[in-house]
Subunit: 484 residues, 2 copies
């Protein structure tokens, strides 16, 4: 492909994407794909000779778009908003097109320094103190693993430079909110701590971690000769967007000298709103915080921000300095490779930089407030509708609901919940994610795609009711028939 062809195909693909977004609302939200269907459309062998690029573009309409669940769709209410705002899309295009790689500062100065500046912008936007330093990584899972490793090395006084974790006399223990994301347990396991040394701390009625239970668990482990190492708390838990009481947890971390990692992957975006900052009150007592700019904030995936208060510690754990990466200016610059697992680095800061400038802080705030208002409005309607329950407090943009018709409970109720959620998803009218709390299935309505307005929320609520009613009628009828 020469540069003239690049212009021509590039313009065509920009237009293809614009058309895709323009027609999104008319597409089924969940992919109707059968397992293996895409694979069956593709040749088993790579082409020996060049195909025309036109056939690649054509496959977007036949192979790709019809077989995606559409995360940018106005009726996407699954998982979390993973918003790819258009200014961020264009920033990422430039990043890829420049083809620059941040191995060291010298290899891409603008990449390094724009990242420094933009992560500091976000620090100010969420009102963290100037003590905090941020870096961009791919996802919260990666940052959480880094946090677990940093905690491990703090407790072992840099055991990695000696005999490693395997040389430690008594086992390290990690404490996590029972509402924490699966990546916390995974991070602790990958860091070598072992499942027996992970404590899931029970939750209160609002699904926040119970500090008293945390304290008891730590005391018990100390009494047993174990070594408490780290606490992972969350602000915006995965299932219900729950809030752990950070201030009380930070006090406990301080008292027992534990690392405190705060997973604000989801709720971190909301910290740009002063009225939401109570949710992480006490955050200055944490050692590390993760905020996914690729979620609600709108930077295209992947763009996860990892903030630490002690950057020297992070670098001491993560740094390498082989000869081929040394440069004359090393003493005067930050080499971002020493802050994470990968050596190479995309120019991810560019999409975040473009996004914040194009939207302005006020523009980002307005969109988040719209989504929170829609969530509150929906929660009010659900909670006043007979047979329906809002199962968790609505602090942010996630509304967790359950349809509890008379005559259904236990496993039958779970089956009903999953059935109506599946019916909604299969209909293409919306995309919802069921999840468990308190051992029971419920359905999350996660509001916040870029183009989701109240009419879309009202639309999914109508669809939910229709499918739930139909399924409960079927279920109750068949159980009546079976009972006759």
């Amino acid at each position: 492909m020469n540069l003239d062809e690049f212009r021509r195909h590039g313009h065509a693909l920009i237009d293809w994407l614009a058309d895709y977004h323009q027609t999104l609302g008319a597409r089924p939200v969940q992919a109707p794909t059968r397992p293996g269907a895409v694979r069956a459309m593709l040749p088993a062998d790579p082409p020996e000779n060049p195909e025309g690029f036109e056939s690649c573009i054509a496959d977007l309409d036949t192979v790709v778009a019809p077989n995606l669940s559409h995360w940018q769709h106005p009726r996407f209410f699954g998982y979390f908003p993973a918003n790819a705002l258009l200014a961020g899309v264009l920033g990422d295009l430039v990043s890829t097109g420049l083809g620059t790689v941040g191995l060291s500062w010298q290899s891409s100065p603008a990449l390094s320094e724009v990242e420094e500046v933009v992560t500091d912008w976000v620090r100010k936007m969420v009102d963290l103190s100037p003590q905090w330093v941020g870096v961009i990584s791919d996802t919260a899972s990666t940052s959480t693993l880094v946090a677990m490793i940093c905690a491990r090395e703090r407790t072992t006084n840099y055991g990695l430079a000696k005999g490693g974790l395997q040389a430690e006399a008594s086992p390290l223990v990690v404490y996590a909110s029972a509402g924490s994301h699966s990546c916390v347990e995974k991070g602790a396991l990958l860091a070598g701590l072992g499942r027996e040394n992970i404590r899931m701390i029970p939750l209160d009625d609002s699904y926040g971690m119970r500090p008293e239970a945390l304290r008891e668990s730590i005391e018990q482990d100390i009494a047993s000769g174990l070594r408490p190492c780290a606490i992972a708390a969350c602000v915006g838990g995965t299932a219900t967007a729950s809030i752990d009481p950070i201030r009380e947890i930070a006090d406990i971390a301080r008292r027992y000298d534990l690392w405190l990692h705060v997973d604000a992957a989801m709720a971190g975006s909301a910290m740009i709103l002063p009225e939401c900052r109570w949710m992480w009150d006490g955050i200055e007592g944490a050692h590390s915080v993760v905020i996914n700019a690729h979620k609600w904030l709108g930077a295209p995936f992947d763009c996860s921000l990892y903030y630490v208060r002690d950057e020297q510690h992070l670098m001491r754990v993560m740094s390498t300095n082989p000869s081929f990466l040394q440069s004359k200016v090393d003493g005067q610059v930050r080499n971002l490779r020493d802050t994470g697992i990968p050596l190479g680095r995309r120019f991810r800061a560019l999409k975040l930089w473009f996004l914040i400038r194009e939207q302005g802080v006020s523009g980002l705030q307005a969109r988040l407030r719209r989504d929170m208002a829609n969530a509150r409005r929906l929660a009010e309607i659900v909670s006043t509708t007979p047979g329906w329950t809002v199962v968790a407090p609505v602090h942010l943009q996630t509304v967790c609901v359950r349809h509890e018709p008379d005559g259904l409970s236990g496993a039958a109720l779970d089956a009903h919940t999953r059935a109506w959620a599946d019916a909604v998803n299969s209909s293409g009218e919306g995309y919802l994610t069921p999840a468990m709390v308190d051992g029971r299935w419920m359905v999350r309505i996660s509001i916040g795609a870029p183009t989701t307005e109240w009419t879309d929320v009202a639309g999914i609520w109508a669809a939910i009711q229709r499918h739930a009613d139909a399924n409960s009628k079927r279920t109750l009828h068949s159980s009546t028939v079976a009972g006759e």
Copy 2:
């Protein structure tokens, strides 16, 4: 930004990128930036209100492009070719613009299945047997960490599900080629093994690992009551693109029941050439292999391929299955989240798919052969030029050279080497990476940017000679003056 604006700005940025590539040859290759200069150009605070997107585009010419070292430049000879071929750039644009996230198969079926198909295409292209299954990750550093963790869990019989590494009675040991990338040591350290349990195996005259030294080291550790766990060998080592003897190393791995990880991050691309496959003869005896499609092959960074023979083991180590990720089809599909550290997944397969189709296997092969021919031609010229040495065998596209004028040795020779390399880089005429072998500095000329032709190689060789001669005259003159 609405969709009309997206079209307008998108077209403008496609054209900006085309212009950038068109004018690349006229730019200084290494950024002339002083530390802090980019930061000083940017406001310390984020904008409260939206800026026009035009100002973002304008900053590409003032802030960004002048402060990058240009990896796609025809005279970029640094580190390794991190080629962003244009078809791949456009594939990545689509990936970002779709804004789809692979959490589970259900969340993006096309993302999952195109990745399955394309990694299998590459498997065939490099002639790995059908036993191997590939997944895409960001970088080789990440895959190497995963390999170290998988090796650890194999040796401990899934210690992570019990007491973890800290419950193991005798320490695990990892063996790496002394020519291996820094990420091998880093991966072993992050996995908790500790520096005392990493053995760097010495190299032979061609900078390949000495199998006999490996065997002795293993025997010694067994005799000391330690537990040999894994070997990391490399094909295309970082400093000199050296080749470890994989078949002999695989035999040793088999005999002692060790995990064998092969880092073919760089040379893996060359395995699409039948005439190069002797370099990893014996590869079928390895447990894991990493091939960076974002290096010489041409998929824009990041796009690293990780192949394993036992996918079930990988998934057992890396999997999580929280309620919110479960779906009806889980038994019938591969959930790629269970193959790596991050949960979320970009549609990285799209850029690789477009690249292979647009180039064809034959197109990719032709470009790699061009680069290898240029490297051989340069090596021949260097080795017959008085005062110059080619310090390592040229198997691929990396030529390692040293200027050794009469009267310079030891530290003075090192200073000369670094000085002339720095002079070339500072002149903007080319970008070179110095590195150490055998305790002495040399300079790597890593050939293979997409538009690098013989004239560019000849040009950098002329510049190298000019700057080296000038510096040696200065050095020898000043030492003569000092000696008078």
